[in-house]
């Protein structure tokens, strides 16, 4: 069967491998382009959030490429994302597309449904249970390796001497991971990737401004949706730390890890969690970044994103209390790269001036 899935950042590398090794043909979702957006805008409700529209566009594109099944995640609210697949199926049916959207609802809600779907996937692959689990394991390790090299790249980029070298090295590392087929190959790919990144020529005397990236998961994870904001900032000489990686929950040594912790951080400002999407996380993460001495925070959110609007209305207070500037960028179909760049430059400028005045005050 020809199977596709939503694209989010570089995770498609792992998902592609997974689909193929389960014995199906993978239709790799293309990176969202102008055409994806146009298709999505044309066929989605006007006030749907941008991730919904981009996914509508993506699904129509993969349908064109022959996909018969899209596997995605469900969810039980409180935000719209958990209802995406239902709406997408409605819309695709309206357009007479012969494609099915299969969503995995959280096992905690409907364990039976979850296992039925998992079972379907397993039996359609023809693999033994042992082989099936092995495939899942390799795919998961791939995801971790992908996130590892990406994380490292964002630390190094602001220090690079030859502009663009980090990004090129990252892409090479991702290509290598794309080729890996066993746990050993994934691990070698990961280590090699990190080694190559670490051998990039750096100017260690720079002291980059540090910015935390928070917000809604899709626009935070998909560079094509956020105009490659982390690369953009990196090349402006800024170190970014992103609050969300698909493998965040399995990590303990990153600034943002376990969810309960985040909600506790948010509580003085937002006494309810979760409120859908990453709304409560955004408030808590701003607190965390302030505590870790970051210079500023950039909140990325789809235009009209309900939980991020709630967060945005609360963030000015957090910002004032903890003295950490926050820039909110709402993304919709009209958001252009140049506009984002100008706003980021002004923001970084502000952070630099702020740092200088802070240091001179301390020096006195």
């Amino acid at each position: 069967m020809k199977i596709s899935f939503p694209r989010m950042g570089y995770s498609y590398i792992a998902f592609k491998w997974l689909v193929e090794n389960l014995g199906h043909e993978c239709i790799v979702p293309p990176e969202p382009s102008k055409r994806t957006l146009d298709l999505g805008v044309q066929h989605s409700p006007e006030f749907a959030c941008i991730p919904f529209k981009l996914l509508t566009g993506t699904y129509l594109e993969v349908a064109e490429m022959g996909a018969e099944l899209i596997i995605t995640s469900g969810g039980m609210g409180p935000c719209r994302a958990g209802y995406y697949w239902v709406m997408h199926q409605y819309l695709l049916d309206e357009l007479d597309q012969n494609i099915r959207v299969m969503a995995f609802e959280p096992p905690l809600c409907d364990l039976k449904d979850f296992f039925q779907k998992l079972y379907w996937i397993k039996s359609s692959s023809g693999l033994s249970l042992h082989a099936f689990l092995q495939v899942l394991k390799v795919a998961w390790q791939k995801l971790i390796a992908i996130d590892d090299v990406e994380m490292r790249s964002h630390e190094l980029r602001p220090l690079e001497i030859n502009r663009g070298q980090t990004t090129r090295t990252l892409w090479k590392a991702l290509e290598r991971l794309d080729q890996a087929d066993t746990l050993e190959e994934v691990e070698t790919g990961r280590l090699e990737g990190l080694k190559h990144l670490d051998s990039i020529e750096l100017d260690r005397t720079r002291r980059p401004i540090k910015i935390g990236i928070i917000g809604e998961i899709y626009v935070v994870l998909e560079p094509a949706a956020n105009h490659y904001i982390q690369i953009m900032l990196g090349e402006m000489g800024v170190e970014t730390n992103r609050s969300i990686y698909l493998t965040t929950y399995a990590r303990t040594s990153t600034i943002v890890d376990l969810e309960g912790d985040i909600y506790a951080k948010a509580r003085p400002y937002l006494n309810e969690a979760p409120i859908g999407g990453h709304g409560a996380n955004s408030v808590g993460e701003t607190v965390l970044y302030a505590e870790h001495g970051f210079d500023g925070v950039v909140q990325l959110a789809p235009f009209g994103c309900i939980p991020e609007i709630v967060a945005k209305s609360i963030l000015p207070r957090v910002s004032r209390d903890l003295d950490i500037p926050v820039l909110t960028i709402f993304i919709d179909e009209q958001t252009g790269k140049a506009g984002v760049q100008t706003r980021l430059e002004a923001f970084v400028d502000l952070l630099e001036r702020k740092r200088i005045s802070k240091e001179s005050r301390r020096g006195r």
Binding site: E46, P78, E94, C109, N271, E272, G276, S313, P316
Partner: protein, 332 residues
């Protein structure tokens, strides 16, 4: 005795009689903000975060009206009304979940907020528990709280019963609190069309924000049916017919209401009032539109309201819709 401020919007239309009865019985004074007007909308737009939907902005405007007139602002955190939706996951739109925090973070010089969490899916004694918490925070004692709770409940039941008899909230409220027994004279002709009007109560029953839609329909010969006129059982029946329920109480009510009226042969057409920049509505509206096409021949009209929704635009569209309904009916 304290003065409790209740904004006349959002959940006001849902269960105002309960809170009015409750607080009054406890010996407090309930102060309600005036009906929405231009100044309130403008103030709300100025105060609220600019990306918010129009109902949330208007809420800020109502809060500003009450701010220096009351001792407490009543802004409970609505989390759930019942164990509803798939696997009991039904809740409210995230903006309701974060409402007290939004108000606190954005507005200055506001009185203390009563932001008790209302999460009724926990069990049938939960409402009583909520009342005890609120009562205690206002310095009231156990037995009087129980009495006040019962008073509120009695009023609420009457309010809902009146709505199920086909009465609109304005009238039902007058009947309850002003003891008016005569129904106000209906203006306009005898109704000859049955219109189902679905949408969030704060959009359907706020005459300012929807540019007098209800009155217009009545004046033009429409008899209006709203989702509040249905019983919970009638609503529940529709929940079964969807691939998946939505997660938001108000949205589900709208969807179930629309689906119910699609079945009723005496209903000539369906109007959905949707609000500008509302997240859930982007899905609610398309879902009703598609299901209306699938399940019936009934014409469907969606009217979006925003801070500038002028009389003229709404009027023309509604008149054209009603004309079309009459034409269809006469042809048959």
């Amino acid at each position: 005795m304290s003065k409790i401020g209740i904004p006349r919007t959002l959940e006001y239309f849902l269960f105002f009689p309960f809170w009015k009865g409750f607080f009054t019985e406890l010996g407090h004074e309930v102060v309600v903000s005036p009906v929405t007007n231009k100044a309130i909308v403008e103030k709300g737009v100025e105060e609220a975060v600019n990306d918010a939907c129009i109902p949330i902005k208007i809420y800020h405007g109502h809060v500003a009206q009450l701010a220096d007139r009351v001792d407490y602002l009543f802004c409970p955190r609505l989390v759930s009304m019942r164990k509803g939706g798939d696997f009991g996951t039904e809740t409210f739109c995230p903006k309701f979940l974060g409402l007290p925090d939004m108000i606190r973070a954005t507005m200055e010089n506001i009185p203390p907020i009563i932001d008790t969490r209302i999460d009724l899916k926990k069990g049938k004694n939960e409402m009583a528990a909520v009342c005890r918490e609120i009562g205690a925070s206002l310095g009231n004692q156990g037995p009087e709280i129980t009495r006040a709770y019962k008073r509120g409940q009695a009023l609420q039941e009457q309010y809902q019963a009146l709505q199920r008899q086909g009465m609109l909230p304005d009238e039902a409220e007058e009947r309850l609190f002003k003891n008016k027994t005569t129904t106000p004279e209906k203006t306009g002709p005898k109704p000859d069309l049955n219109i189902a009007l679905v949408g969030y109560p704060y959009a359907v029953y706020d005459h300012y924000i929807n540019a007098g839609l209800l009155k217009l329909l009545q004046k033009e010969g429409g008899r209006v049916f709203t989702q509040e006129m249905l019983t919970q059982a009638q609503m529940e029946r529709e929940a079964e017919t969807l691939p998946k329920n939505m997660f938001w109480y108000f949205s589900n009510q709208v969807v179930y209401g629309a689906l119910h009226y699609l079945r009723r042969s005496e209903i000539d057409g369906i109007i959905h009032v949707t609000t500008f920049a509302c997240g859930p509505d982007s899905m609610v509206d398309r879902l009703i539109e598609i299901e209306a096409k699938k399940r019936s021949q009934k014409p469907y009209l969606s009217i979006m309201i925003d801070e500038h929704s002028g009389d003229a635009g709404v009027r023309t569209r509604v008149e054209a819709f009603l004309d079309m309904l009459r034409y269809r009916r006469d042809k048959r």
